[in-house]
């Protein structure tokens, strides 16, 4: 599970206006930390570098094996794309995987070692998002890989957060995947000249919108 011992290195007063020199320095610092935590590649990108694809969204919608609050994303009165549009800067990272690593889509992810890799993407996203939050980028939001139900709640018969009046049983852990938000992570990686997994392998990584 996600490391429960996270402690912020820095807690800054929320600024009235962000200092862009400070932001650039913080993004560089967070990028280094993502790499140190196991990301194979990580880059600072602009919001305009985030690529959406209706085909990615269709694949998620068609995969109905383990529906959850985040697979597909079920927020009827909110628009995640509008929220993503409001950011300027993000960190995008990739986790290296073996060529034979299967694409589990929305799950289930049976081999524990493979599930652990998905947990790792959530762990890095969580670290970056929390660190940014305490640095004063209080609106930082992270997207990871895979269906959070398959990653954190494989034993549950139903995602409790999809039942009216019930809440997530593992709050502060599960995040939507980039795919569930309609983001074409593979195309973004290609733009950055990263090594792309084979077509039958998943893209494991995350996107943390910082500011």
């Amino acid at each position: 599970m996600i490391t429960p011992t996270f402690k912020p290195e820095v807690v800054r007063c929320v600024p009235a206006h962000v200092d862009f020199a400070q932001l650039a320095s913080d993004l560089a610092d967070l990028r280094e930390k993502a790499l140190a935590k196991g990301a194979g590649a990580c880059e600072r990108i602009k919001r305009t570098d985030v690529l959406f694809s209706p085909d990615v969204l269709k694949q998620v919608a068609a995969d109905k094996r383990l529906p959850s609050a985040h697979w597909p994303i079920e927020y009827p009165i909110d628009d995640l794309n509008a929220a993503i549009d409001a950011y300027e800067w993000a960190l995008f990272f990739q986790l290296p995987i073996e060529p034979e690593f299967p694409d589990y889509g929305g799950g289930p992810i049976d081999p524990p070692e493979h599930r652990q890799r998905y947990i790792k993407t959530h762990e890095i996203v969580s670290f970056l998002e929390s660190s940014a939050f305490y640095m004063g980028y209080h609106l930082a939001i992270g997207l990871a890989s895979g269906n959070c139900r398959a990653v954190f709640c494989p034993e549950e018969k139903r995602c409790p957060a999809t039942i009216k009046g019930r809440t997530c049983i593992r709050p502060n852990m599960g995040r939507p995947s980039m795919a569930a938000a309609g983001i074409d992570a593979r195309a973004m990686a290609r733009t950055l000249n990263w090594e792309i997994p084979a077509n039958n392998a998943p893209f494991l990584g995350g996107l943390v919108m910082i500011h």
């Binding site: 800054r12 007063c13 929320v14 995640l80 509008a82 209080h138 609106l139 009216k164 997530c168």
Partner: protein
Amino acid sequence: MKSDPAVNASTRKHAPGHEHVEFLRKTALVRGAEDAVIISASDVIVDPRVRFKCMIPKCYMSGGCAHCPPHGLSVADVREIVAEHELGIFFRVRVDSRVIAARDIHEAIEQGIADPGGNLMNLGGHYILVFTIVKILEKHARQAGYAAYGFGAGNCRDPLCFLQPACQGLMSQKGCRNPDLSAYSMESCGMDAYTMAARVGWDHYPIGGSCEPDTVPRGSLMGIVLLSGRSQ
């Protein structure tokens, strides 16, 4: 005791007058706010990202309270409400960092179990104070003939319905158990209270489950009551 200038509203027809608004601001201070300022409604920041902070990753209360995302008001609804008002009384209540960032309080909040040090109940009292100030200001403003719409902090279910199994407003036709005290929070409505606080000159620190008292100098809970004049 100083008389309430908001009570006699017979001569006023338009925008809230300075004297009345100042009375409301001072009332917030008298009732327990540490700071209170009058701001233009156009300075209220409504941002779609804020509601997503309740849902990505999910807060322990997301989905469990009628006032919390994914329920509640949409960002479009809130923008419309803000646009219908002219001014706001924006206030903050101080919470000692030994309470709001107490060790293990995050687990106590998520599990709904009172901690031995009493910090959970202490913090709940601060949230109730914010809701109370909101309702007092709304009442004074309405008595004076103004339209008022108030927003508190956090979720209302924990401080007001802690011992109840579910939010009645969400799960039953009976509606809210505490309609005279409950309210939407600023953040549940997409208001960026943190940046708004910074822009009025308040020091506000981000506090989450990983904080400890020595990492944050202070805590704050914020609320706002929007005001507009109306014809008598």
